[in-house]
Amino acid sequence: MHDLIILGQGPSMHNCPFDTETWASLTILGHKEYEDAPISKVFLFDMPENKPDEALGLVVAQRRGIPIVSNKGLPCVTEAYPMKAIVERFRSIFFMNDTSYMIALALYKGYKSLLLWGVDQSDEHMYIIARKYVTYWLGVATGMGVHWEMAPDSLLWRKGV
């Protein structure tokens, strides 16, 4: 049993078991099928008005009282992302997508076993750009001895891309 599920927006998200604490991007709550999903925290690193799904997710998170984690000083944020502390701890600012921020926070907080679902990247373009940021923090996890696994149909290690 893993300590934590980190849920991304890729196709494999639909098979997420939700059998332990689960973190996700705020955007996921904007999908109707996840409105009532047992998500413990959501993460926000874009301005909600720029992404319709995120704006919808924000409404759901606030209605359900799900903590909203962000490094942006927005009124909707209920939990500040400890960016300074994480940067000092790991001496790295290598972040891009929500998944990279989530993995870093999980490592900072001492989670020992992570399971990543839906970390397939949202489309081909994002997959190529963001993959290195995810693999970097998975490398940090590996170096720390933190156990992690990808969902069975994750594309993260797909060859030839």
Binding site: F90, R91, S92, F94, M96, L107, R131, K132, Y133, T135, Y136, W137, L138, G139, V140, A141, T142, G143, M144, G145, V146
Partner: protein, 87 residues
Amino acid sequence: MDNVIVIPRGIESYKLCFGMGVLVGMGIDYRVNSGSQVAMALNERRRERTLELENGLVLESDTNGVKILSSGNPNDCKVNVRVAHHA
């Protein structure tokens, strides 16, 4: 004495980033003396010519994109690794 890891050119950046992450996770300080894949991978978002962090990590790239070490195999990127502490 520093340990030197020689990274062949052409390695996919996401694999290289994974390796760098492992070093960070193990608490190993490292310095990159060449541009090549490492600087391109890690410096991308900063878009600066030189990125220097307090832990001794220095990424350098010239206006042509890649600076290659003059010693050793010019096709390789050298990474000097100093064991500083463990996480």
